[in-house]
């Protein structure tokens, strides 16, 4: 019987493999493919450091080696220096890239099956594994789209499996590799080490961190030796505001909030008082993450892994639904985590329920990915127009939200009740932080504009700097206090002509009061105009201000203004050289 099941399982794997091979010629998400090609070629030709410093590479450091390896193999077979390399239909390249995801998919399948077997649920393990393998999600993401989410998932699940086998050091190695290959895994880092602490105490956690550091050092060794670790740090943080939009086609609450146009709306829009969407999402995510941590932290050892898996699933949901800037594919880890949640269920009914949940989740998630893909490329079947796609996205968003709610209710309801006190403290703290942030708004006190995030900023030289001069942009040795003729200001925006800084103020304020002038660090010849616009209408234009003019004050009526733009311009024909100009102590008044 077991043998037959094994054969059937293998046949399904072969089937899954076959289906994937069929889709290899699909051109995939062409922009992603072009990036892989460009980055891989640069990595092979010039090395990892050059790649990071000279391109828009924004993946983790270990992934460079994967791209290098792909291009190495490619170069053995075919030259990457002719135009066919860049063709969307370059089969060899598509094969090599998609081969990684196919191998990862099979690896994930085997890991799910093995995890089930180790948990005493062999058949369920195989069933979940087969569903994963044949699911449209995994096939579409890897073999059609050409993304590598399963690659990150494979290493992540590998680490979970090693934890199940009580191999903490191997698990730490694989886990570290997982987030050095795919950034989403970073979200699990704190939870992972809380788990290590609970399971192996401080000593064990320290050793695990030691191993992780060792892996990190090995992976980043070329950067360490080359004195380029700042490039690695930049890589690790660069994604924090890479696409500052409400939602990157993730059909989640922010997609709904943005009116089904998350990609067209900045997440710096104010949603509550002076709290913007990004901050609000982050606060909500912190509450959820704290809840997940509490679930793990207060666990007994025998229940620890189960709770850890559950907590991680919650975090994935939170990452997708609560944070802005979420991609459509950010639910992918649940493709591996939901089966693991199922394996820890003790009643068959609950496992069956989870299985059904898994199928529904796959359906909803697939639609999200498919429609998102279709927004960009029409190389997949979709005979409907944009408005219908948006309508579907509306329903899918709600389906995703309901599935999130259902997961919380089904699997973590009892923890909400059990840890209500701790959870209340966390929520109270977050409310406290939001209240402190909004206190001046509530109390109708002046609100420093520099505490708000602009939704857009353009500047011809360097970038606007908040509460310091524009030269401060170039690092700590250039940090300077804002001042005009040595009259100092604690708050403001150090800018440079020509610039335009846009704020969403949503008609919440009556008055803008600001000082302005050329900064003490500006050039002696500098001369600029300060202009304020509200919803496209000019509200204020200063006289030309020179380097040795004293700071001036402007008080403007901005009642009903939604978009406030602060502009610094030189007059026609005048140079922008040395035009370090400041908006000084700009405040909004209700």
């Amino acid at each position: 019987m077991k043998k037959n099941e094994g054969i059937i399982f293998i046949l399904f794997i072969v089937l899954g493999l076959f289906i994937r091979l069929l889709f290899i010629p699909h051109t995939g998400f062409e922009a992603d493919m072009a990036y892989w090609k460009g980055w891989g070629l640069a990595a092979l030709d010039k090395g990892p450091i050059w790649l990071v410093n000279n391109t828009n590479y924004n993946y983790p450091p270990a992934f460079i080696y994967v791209l290098q390896a792909i291009n190495f193999v490619y170069a053995l077979i075919q030259s990457p220096y002719n135009t066919s390399y860049w063709a969307n239909t370059n089969i060899l390249y598509l094969l090599l890239v998609k081969a990684i995801t196919i191998v990862a998919d099979i690896g994930v399948t085997l890991l799910i099956a093995q995890f089930g077997a180790k948990c005493g649920k062999r058949r369920w393990g195989m069933l979940f594994a087969i569903v994963y393998l044949l699911s449209p999600v995994s096939i579409f993401d890897g073999s059609i789209w050409g993304q590598v989410d399963q690659f990150g998932l494979f290493f992540f699940l590998g680490a979970m499996y090693l934890l199940l086998l009580e191999k903490p050091f191997s698990a730490s190695i694989v886990f570290t590799l997982s987030f050095l290959l795919k950034f989403q895994n970073i979200m699990f880092i704190p939870l992972f080490f809380v788990y290590m602490y609970k399971r192996y105490e401080i000593k064990g956690m320290a050793r695990s961190l030691f191993v992780s550091l060792a892996v990190f050092v090995l992976i980043t060794l070329p950067f360490i030796v080359g004195y380029e670790m700042d490039a690695v740090i930049n890589l690790l943080i660069v994604n924090a505001d890479w696409f500052p939009h409400m939602s990157l086609n993730a059909f989640n609450p922010w997609w709904l909030y943005s009116g089904l146009s998350g990609l067209d709306m900045s997440d710096k829009h104010l949603v509550f008082g002076i709290t913007n969407a990004k901050q609000f999402g982050l606060y909500m995510f912190i509450i959820l993450y704290a809840f997940a941590t509490i679930i793990v932290f207060f666990s007994k050892k025998q229940d620890l892994l189960r709770r850890f898996i559950l907590a991680q699933a919650l975090v994935v949901f939170g990452f997708f639904h609560l944070l802005t800037e979420s991609h459509e594919r950010y639910l992918y880890h649940l493709m591996g985590l939901v089966p693991l949640v199922a394996f820890f269920q003790t009643q068959s009914r609950r496992i069956l329920l989870t299985f059904v949940y898994y199928l529904l989740f796959i359906l909803s998630f697939f639609l999200n990915m498919y429609i998102a893909f279709q927004f960009f490329y029409q190389s997949v079947w979709w005979p409907f127009d944009k408005s219908f796609s948006l309508l579907v996205s509306f329903f899918v968003s709600w389906a995703n939200i309901v599935l999130f709610g259902a997961f919380v209710l089904i699997y973590s309801r009892k923890y909400i009740v059990r840890y209500a006190l701790f959870l209340s403290v966390v929520i109270a703290c977050v409310i406290g932080v939001i209240a402190v942030q909004n206190m001046p708004y509530i109390a109708k006190k002046p609100i420093a504009l520099s505490t708000l995030k602009p939704i857009q900023q353009t500047q011809q030289y360097a970038k606007p700097v908040f509460d310091m001069t524009v030269n401060s942009h170039f690092g700590w040795k250039k940090w300077n206090r804002l001042s005009v003729n040595y009259f100092y200001y604690d708050k403001g925006i150090g800018s440079h002509a020509n610039s335009a800084i846009t704020y969403s103020v949503k008609g919440k304020f009556q008055t803008l009061k600001t000082d302005y002038g050329i900064d003490t660090e500006g050039g002696p010849e500098a001369e600029v105009l300060f202009i304020v616009e509200g919803d496209g209408k000019e509200l204020f234009r200063s006289k030309p201000m020179g380097r040795f003019d004293m700071p001036k004050t402007a008080m403007l009526d901005i009642a009903g203004v939604d978009m406030l733009v602060l502009k610094i311009k030189t007059e026609k024909g005048k140079s922008i050289n040395g035009a370090h100009a400041d908006w000084l102590d700009p405040v909004l008044l209700r």
């Binding site: 320290a206 550091l213 690695v232 740090i233 100092y488």
Partner: protein, 759 residues
């Protein structure tokens, strides 16, 4: 036993080797002719202390002035020793007087000795911590080997001539490892109490900042001890309670409290006035932002992983040993390991600074004005021991592994391993030492070049000094950091700094967070006569290319130094003070600057500076400052850019005042004025930085003076008549009281211990 003895001898041999190597590397420091960095300031303090000693020894001044005096060399004077290290300067200057060795030579020798012997302090402290000889040697070596790009840490770039010349930090650092290790041993094992108190005292005397940083780690010793104790109880809470109830925990807490109390008592005479009179100390906006705020998370992370916090210009060997070592510290259940690990992360967080934490960090007393970037010192300090412990333990583990793994062949494997280790050590030594040697080599060359230039300028400069010393002078202006003064030098030392160093009161010394006037004398206008009056500048030393105004007449020329004399000025001014500006000390910078641009100084209008919560009811014009820009005046809140609340000329004096005489005393000034008629808001202003320790008598009666713009001492004179004003800086009574306590407390402690031992 024999093996340990051999290890001890070898370790000490290598330690001596490090000292000799240091002695060789830094030998040029002995021949410095003229400093170019913070040591100008430090040297001037020693020179100042020497002057006080001569007054004390001749019976003209109380010995208390060595602890608390008004130093007039910079920024319109400041009660520097009230807030700053003073005992090392007093001792150094005394040694110079007694030995007859000139101050410059002695200063160079002492700095040099501290510099080359610093690894010995680390070695001894490591032994006190209980580290093996080999580990202690590694600690000593690591302390010598750290190098940064001038980040003010414990490395040579902080101390050498071509670096920052932070001799007070060097002196403090000599005692910091000892204070830390002795304190640890007392709290954990009840040993070395006297040594702990003494080293903490010496540390604080040499560098209060380092003492502050080191001492905040002492409570962590308690937590480290707790974290390594075994506890009983089912739940986490029960285990915690049982831990706190244990005799060992309580005993540790008692010892921590006792040590803290003793150290607080012996240092109370410094810290009580420091905090009580904190508002009279400047918070300078001329200081770079990063000094107060440090560098933030991102920059710190980049430095750490790139090796810039320990290994600038070489492979980040110590950096990564530190990071791995830090994690290793928590993998061992030993109090010292845990203590070092917790301290490491705490200091790293503090070094990250104010940027991620905002004002929360200021909850810790003293933090709001602390140069947080200096936490690199404490961070590197604990890292040294972490590296030592980690290296030794790793090697021990490898040896143990070899013994198990190779069985009968273990001896051979060990020998091969030893040879391999030696080769690695030699390679590492080469890599580690290369940038150190390069840095000190350049230091040597630059010192030689600067000395040559100094010798070339010295003869003329000495003539300038001699001329100014014999002239009846007020203050001397010789440029400032922001103009030609930066490049107008004696050797490589800016002359405005050299003159102050050599006892000539000057203005526009590189601004420091000490005298509140430091904020404003940078706005001195060399073309404006009233600027000279405001700061009592009587002489200018300038190069030929600088065109001086007509009222400054050339008096002498010595080589490239031209001395100008201006119309005679006075230490006293007469004026009115009808306005009062009330706010926090950091609010005054713009309004005072604005005042300097008005006719206020010319007309003798000196608004009062008030830190009171409520405005002064006796003044006509109340200006309440809310921040640097915003104020409320006559019920309306405005910004300075909208309206100037300072009246120009509204109080122009109708009163005629004749100055009859003016005299400089040892610690102050006196003058006699004849005021022609009654005048409600009239004041006599002494152009010295205000401090509550100034004692002012009018016609022999004590009166209360107050600060006026920019931050001078004002004495009200409201009735017609003749006034003899005597102003003298006197050491604070609080300081004196606590100094007595500081002396008595250790005496009592020593006596009680002696009596206990005798019994």
């Amino acid at each position: 036993m024999k093996k340990e003895f051999v290890t001890k001898i070898i370790s000490i041999f290598f330690l001596i080797g490090i000292v000799f190597f240091n002695a060789y590397l830094h030998s040029a420091e002995l021949g410095i002719q003229s400093e170019v960095n913070d040591n100008i300031f430090q040297f001037a303090l020693v020179d100042e202390a020497k002057t006080i000693w001569s007054n004390v020894l001749s019976g003209r001044q109380s010995v208390m002035y060595l602890f608390d005096s008004h130093n007039e060399r910079w920024n319109e004077g400041f009660a520097l020793s009230n807030y700053y290290a003073h005992l090392p300067q007093a001792l150094l200057s005394f040694a110079s007087i007694v030995s007859g060795i000139d101050t410059k030579t002695l200063f160079n020798v002492i700095k040099y000795l501290f510099l080359i012997l610093l690894p010995v302090s680390f070695f001894i402290s490591a032994r006190v911590f209980g580290l093996s000889y080999v580990a202690s040697l590694i600690a000593a070596f690591a302390s010598h080997a750290i190098i940064t790009d001038g980040l003010y840490g414990i490395d040579m770039t902080s101390f050498l001539w071509r670096g920052w010349g932070l001799s007070s930090q060097l002196f403090g650092l000599m005692f910091a490892p000892l204070a830390l290790s002795f304190s640890y041993q007392y709290i954990v094992n009840k040993k070395y109490l006297v040594a702990a108190v003494l080293c903490n005292f010496l540390l604080a005397q040499n560098h209060m900042g380092i003492f502050f940083m080191v001492s905040i780690s002492y409570p962590l010793i308690f937590f480290a001890v707790i974290s390594t104790q075994n506890s009983s109880g089912e739940s986490g809470l029960a285990r915690l309670v049982s831990l706190f109830k244990s005799e060992h925990t309580q005993e540790t807490a008692r010892r921590l409290a006792y040590l803290a109390l003793l150290v607080a008592i012996v240092l109370s005479y410094i810290f009580v006035p420091f905090f009580l009179q904190g508002q009279y100390r400047n918070f300078s906006l001329w200081d770079p932002i990063w000094k107060f705020d440090s560098f933030g998370l991102l920059q710190t992370a980049m430095w750490l992983v790139n090796g810039d916090l320990f290994d600038f210009g070489r492979l980040p060997i110590i950096s990564y040993l530190t990071m791995f070592g830090f994690l290793y510290m928590f993998s061992q259940k030993k109090p010292l390991y845990r203590f070092l690990g917790i301290s490491w992360i705490l200091y790293l967080i503090f070094f990250i600074g104010r940027r991620p934490f905002g004002p929360i960090i200021d909850v810790i007393p003293g933090f709001s004005e602390f140069h947080v970037h200096r936490f690199i010192v404490a961070f590197q300090l604990v890292s040294v021991y972490i590296v030592a412990l980690f290296c030794v333990d790793v090697v021990a583990r490898i040896v143990a592994y070899i013994r198990v793994k190779f069985g009968k062949n273990a001896l051979l494997a060990e020998k091969v391993g030893f040879i391999f280790a030696c080769l690695v050590a030699v390679f590492m030594f080469y890599v580690v030492e290369k940038p150190l040697v390069a840095y000190s080599h350049t230091n040597k060359i630059w010192i030689a070049e600067a000395n040559e230039r100094y010798i070339k300028d010295e003869r003329d400069y000495k003539k300038v000094l001699s001329y100014l010393s014999s002239a009846p002078i007020g203050r001397v202006y010789a440029g400032r950091p922001g103009n030609w003064g930066r490049d107008f030098t004696v050797g490589d030392t800016a002359i405005y700094m050299a003159l102050s160093r050599d006892g000539i009161p000057g203005i526009a010394f590189a601004p420091e967070s000490w005298s509140p006037n430091a904020e404003f004398d940078q706005f001195f206008n060399e073309l404006d006569k009233h600027s000279y009056e405001l700061f009592n500048v009587t002489h200018v030393v300038a190069p030929a290319f600088v065109e001086m105004p007509e009222f400054a007449k050339q008096a002498k020329q010595f080589g490239k130094y031209i001395i100008y004399e201006t119309t005679p000025q006075s230490w006293f001014a007469f004026g009115s003070s009808s306005s009062v500006a009330t706010g926090n000390k950091t609010d005054f910078v713009n309004i005072t600057h604005l005042w300097m641009t008005t006719k206020g100084p010319k007309n003798g209008e000196y608004p009062e500076v008030s830190y009171r919560k409520n405005p002064n009811p006796f003044k006509k014009n109340d200006i309440v400052l809310h921040d640097k820009q915003t104020f409320t005046f006559r019920g309306k809140t405005r910004r300075l850019s909208e309206e100037n609340p300072l009246y120009d000329g509204h109080d122009k004096q109708k009163v005629t005042v004749a100055k009859k005489s003016e005299k400089k005393t040892i610690a102050g000034y006196s003058a006699t004025f004849d005021v022609s008629q009654d005048c409600e808001y009239c004041v006599v202003v002494l152009k010295q930085t205000f401090h509550p320790n100034w004692q002012v008598k009018v016609n022999g009666e004590l009166v209360s003076a107050y600060p006026v713009f920019p931050f001078y001492i004002a004495v009200p004179v409201q009735k017609a008549g003749i006034y003899t004003i005597e102003a003298e800086y006197r050491p604070g009574s609080v300081k004196t009281l606590f100094l007595i306590l500081s002396v008595i407390a250790p005496c009592v402690m020593v006596m009680s211990r002696v009596m206990r031992k005798t019994r």
